[in-house]
Symmetry: none
Subunit: 172 residues, 2 copies
């Protein structure tokens, strides 16, 4: 329970901070989505945790809103060159987040913290092999996507999926 007026100041305890970050980020994304729905607006929210992990929400997607902001005379010179994809949760996909997360747990077996620990034990050759494993999973996932698109799944009217994912590649 909220025991007393919630103080807005830095949380020192790491796990508590992480919990709060996750909860409030989800709340923030939901509020952004509600705003977009109710007001027919566009919005993007980009968060960077203290650990440096990036999470972003966008309606209709992150890029159009960011580009709109940048092309409107705002923004520094754009800096490019890195290459990691970010977790972009969008629209209705967001509503299914915890359900989806649960199912994905079934596939991947563990959560981020555990990967961190387990991966920390791997050596170079094992990392190489892990990549092959990841490749394998990705192939299976792509096959599943084909199956759905071909008419076997329930979610065929999901439309605004970003260009970076397993699914849109199949749709090109």
């Amino acid at each position: 329970m909220v025991r007393r007026k919630v103080e807005i100041k830095a949380i020192e305890n790491i796990s508590k901070r992480h919990t709060t970050f996750t909860k409030r980020r989800q709340g923030l994304f939901k509020k952004a989505k509600d705003l977009c729905t109710k007001c027919e607006a566009e919005a993007t929210v980009i968060t960077v945790s203290k650990a440096g992990n990036i999470f972003a929400f966008g309606h209709p997607a992150v890029d159009p809103v960011v580009n709109r902001y940048l092309s409107n005379g705002n923004g520094d010179e754009r800096v490019h060159g890195g290459n990691w994809m970010v977790v972009a949760m969008e629209d209705e996909e967001m509503q299914l987040l915890s359900k989806a997360e649960r199912k994905i747990q079934k596939v991947m077996g563990k959560g981020r913290q555990e990967w961190n620990l387990a991966i920390g034990d791997l050596e170079i050759n094992e990392l190489d092999e892990m990549e092959a494993v990841i490749e394998d999973i990705k192939r299976i996932a792509a096959a599943r996507a084909v199956e759905i698109v071909a008419g076997g799944g329930k979610d065929q009217d999901v439309k605004c999926i970003g260009k970076d994912s397993i699914v849109p590649y199949l749709r090109r």
Copy 2:
């Protein structure tokens, strides 16, 4: 007063929509700010009203967060395409195969057959999210590779790693 459960659907009345947009935008900015304060995180929120007016919040400012997002491989200028390289394993590495497989089981939790079954339950949106999870794993693995190459230091900056593979780029 909020007279009843607030419906999240488009508001047709223009002035009412504008009022709601303003209030919710303020609320959204405040929540983003609180998140940053409490979790020592960075965040930006960019909104575009139906009329096309842009409002943005950023901590520490909009641009650093946007650039961070863009420089992490997101954004329009990212090159896309199938880009996963599999590394051929050589002799001595080969000898370690089953040991490696065991360790990778620790990371990935399941074997091929189980992935097949579990992935078969996923819907489109869940496949999308799974890709984010895969990216996350890959990122952790890349950090580990850097750690090894750098000689044991933890959590080196991973920005120099290429897009195609966890390990090989480090070896260039």
